[in-house]
C-alpha cells in the first residue's frame, strides 16, 4: 500500500527542538598555528567523499573569540582578519582562541573561560540532552573543541576542570548516540532530506564518511530498481 510520505516532518530525530543557529563562518588551529601542513598529501583514505580531519575542525574552532586578561600592554594590532586590542595589563580583551592559547603558553595572559564552561550550566545541559529525543541547542558550535583546547592548555584558569571535562564528554556521548539513531532511521526510512540544526561540525565529521558512503551505496542499489536505467552501459569500455 502506498504511504504518503512527507520527509519534512518525520520521525527522524534530526529534527530540531528550537532554532539555535550558529553565526556562519565561525572559525579554528591546533595548539599553536595550523594543522599538519603535509597531511593532505599523504591522506587519501577515502575515495567516495571529501573528508575533513578533526584537526581541521579544531582549526576552525580556534577562530572563536575568548576573553583574556593580559599582563602586558600593546597597541591595537591590525590583523588581516580584523583589529585586536589594545592590550592593557589587567583589562579583559577579546581575542581569537589561537592567539589566547599562544599568549597563555608564553605566560602573557590569563584566559577567562566562556560562560557556559561551568559545572552547573553543563549539568543542566546534560540533563536536558538526556531527556530530549532531539538534539538540544549547544552552548557553542565548537563546545567539544573549545573544551579540549582550553582544558589542555589553560586548565589552571578554569575552575573544576576535571568535572567539566567529564560533563562535556557525557553530553558528547549522548549526542553521538542520538546521531546514530537518526542515521539509522534516515537510512531505513530512505529519507531524502533531514534538518539537523544544533548538530556541530565535529559531530557531523565523526560520522560523515560512513553515513555518506552508506547513502551512496544505497542510492546505487536503489537505482537497480529502475530497470533499464544503466543497462549495457558497462559493456563498452
Amino acid at each position: 500500500m502506498p504511504i504518503v510520505h512527507n520527509g519534512a516532518v518525520t520521525s527522524c530525530v534530526f529534527f530540531a527542538v528550537s532554532g539555535n543557529s550558529y553565526s556562519a563562518g565561525t572559525f579554528i588551529s591546533s595548539t599553536v598555528g595550523v594543522p599538519a601542513l603535509t597531511h593532505s598529501f599523504c591522506k587519501q583514505n577515502n575515495p567516495a567523499v571529501q573528508t575533513m580531519d578533526p584537526s581541521e575542525v579544531e582549526f576552525l574552532a580556534e577562530k572563536e573569540m575568548v576573553k583574556i586578561i593580559p599582563n602586558f600592554s600593546l597597541d591595537k594590532i591590525y590583523l588581516i582578519g580584523g583589529d585586536l586590542g589594545p592590550f592593557n595589563p589587567g583589562l579583559p580583551v577579546d581575542v581569537p582562541v589561537w592567539l589566547a592559547l599562544n599568549l597563555k603558553q608564553r605566560q602573557k595572559c590569563r584566559i577567562v573561560p566562556p560562560e557556559w564552561m561551568d559545572v552547573e550550566k553543563l549539568e543542566e545541559i546534560r540533563e536536558l540532552e538526556r531527556k530530549e529525543d532531539a538534539f538540544t541547542p549547544v552552548p557553542s558550535p565548537y563546545y567539544m573543541e573549545l573544551t579540549k583546547l582550553l582544558l589542555n592548555h589553560a586548565s589552571d584558569n578554569i575552575p573544576k576542570a576535571d568535572e567539566i571535562r567529564t560533563l562535556v564528554k557525557d553530553i558528547w556521548d549522548t549526542r553521538i548516540a542520538k546521531l546514530r539513531l537518526s542515521a539509522d532511521s534516515f537510512i531505513s526510512q530512505q529519507e531524502a532530506h533531514a534538518k539537523l540544526d544544533n548538530l556541530t561540525l565535529m559531530e557531523i565529521n565523526t560520522t560523515r564518511t560512513f553515513l555518506l558512503d552508506s547513502l551512496n551505496c544505497m542510492y546505487k542499489l536503489r537505482s537497480n530498481l529502475q530497470p533499464g536505467s544503466n543497462k549495457g552501459k558497462a559493456l563498452d569500455y
Binding site: 591546533s30 595548539t31 594543522p35 599538519a36 601542513l37 603535509t38 597531511h39 598529501f41 599523504c42 591522506k43 587519501q44 583514505n45 577515502n46 575515495p47 567516495a48 580531519d53 578533526p54 584537526s55 579544531e58 579540549k148 589542555n152 546514530r180 542515521a183 539509522d184 537510512i187 531505513s188 530512505q190 565535529m202 565529521n205 565523526t206 560520522t207 560523515r208 564518511t209 560512513f210 558512503d213 552508506s214 551505496c217 544505497m218 546505487k220 542499489l221 536503489r222 537505482s223 537497480n224 530498481l225 530497470p227 536505467s229 544503466n230 543497462k231 552501459k233 558497462a234 559493456l235 569500455y237
Partner: protein, 211 residues
C-alpha cells in the same frame, strides 16, 4: 596516517562498474553456472572435461561473470545464466526474515555487487532480486554502523567476518571516522608526520648530490 600512492577507486556498486576498481575486477571473475544455447564450433579445448572439437548446444559450464556478460545477448540466445542460489527465492525469504543472521562473506563475498550484476541477465525475478538487495543492505546497516563506531583499538576481524566486501568498505569508513576523532581527542593528531612523498624526495635529492 595512511599513505597511499594513488587514489583507490571504489567499486561501482549497482549495475555500473569502475574500470580501475580492484574490487570490481575481482567481482568480474566470480563464476556463474551457464548453459550454452547454441553450439560453439572449434572451442572444445576450452572445456577441460571433454575432448570434442566443438562445444555442443546445451552444455553446462561455469563461466566468469565478464565472459558470461560478454556472450549474453537478449535477442539471440547464446548462453543462459543460472541465478546463484543466494539470490533465489529460498534465500530471499531468509533475508527478508532477518538479514543480519546471514554470513555474507561466505555467501558472497560480493553479495551486493554480483547481485546487481545479475540484473544484466533477463529474468522475471529481477525486480525481486533488486528489492531484496536493497532491503538486506538497509536491514544490516545498523549492525555495520554500531560495530564500526564502537570498536576502538581492538581486533576487528571478528566484527567484519560476516560482512560482504561492500559492508567491509563501509566498516572501514566508520572506523576511520572514529579513529580520527579518538586520536584527535587524545591529542595524537597534533604530532605531525611528513608526507612520504616529501621524505622520498629528500632522499633522492641526497642521493643526487652524492658524487
Amino acid at each position: 596516517m595512511d599513505s597511499q600512492a594513488y587514489l583507490p577507486v571504489p567499486p561501482g556498486v549497482g549495475m555500473e562498474e569502475n574500470f580501475f576498481s580492484l574490487d570490481d575486477i575481482l567481482l568480474s571473475h566470480e563464476r556463474l553456472s551457464c548453459r550454452t544455447e547454441c553450439a560453439f564450433p572449434r572451442l572444445g579445448f576450452l572445456e577441460k572435461s571433454g575432448d570434442t572439437r566443438d562445444i555442443a548446444e546445451g552444455t553446462k559450464m561455469e563461466l566468469p561473470l565478464w565472459l558470461a556478460k560478454g556472450l549474453y545477448e537478449r535477442k539471440r540466445r547464446v548462453v543462459s545464466v543460472e541465478v546463484p542460489k543466494v539470490y533465489r527465492e529460498g534465500w530471499r525469504t531468509v533475508f527478508s526474515a532477518d538479514p543480519t543472521v546471514v554470513d555474507l562473506q561466505k555467501m558472497g563475498p560480493y553479495y551486493y555487487g554480483l547481485g546487481s550484476q545479475m540484473l544484466h541477465f533477463d529474468s522475471p525475478e529481477n525486480p525481486d532480486v533488486a528489492q531484496s538487495l536493497l532491503q538486506t543492505f538497509i536491514g544490516r546497516f545498523r549492525r555495520t554502523m554500531d560495530s564500526s563506531q564502537n570498536a576502538y583499538n581492538e581486533d576487528t576481524s571478528v566484527l567484519v567476518e560476516r560482512l560482504d566486501c561492500l559492508e567491509r568498505a563501509l566498516f572501514r569508513s566508520g572506523q576511520s571516522g572514529l579513529n580520527g576523532f579518538q586520536s584527535w581527542e587524545k591529542g595524537r593528531a597534533s604530532h605531525l608526520t611528513a608526507s612520504t612523498l616529501v621524505l622520498n624526495y629528500r632522499k633522492r635529492k641526497m642521493a643526487d648530490t652524492q658524487p
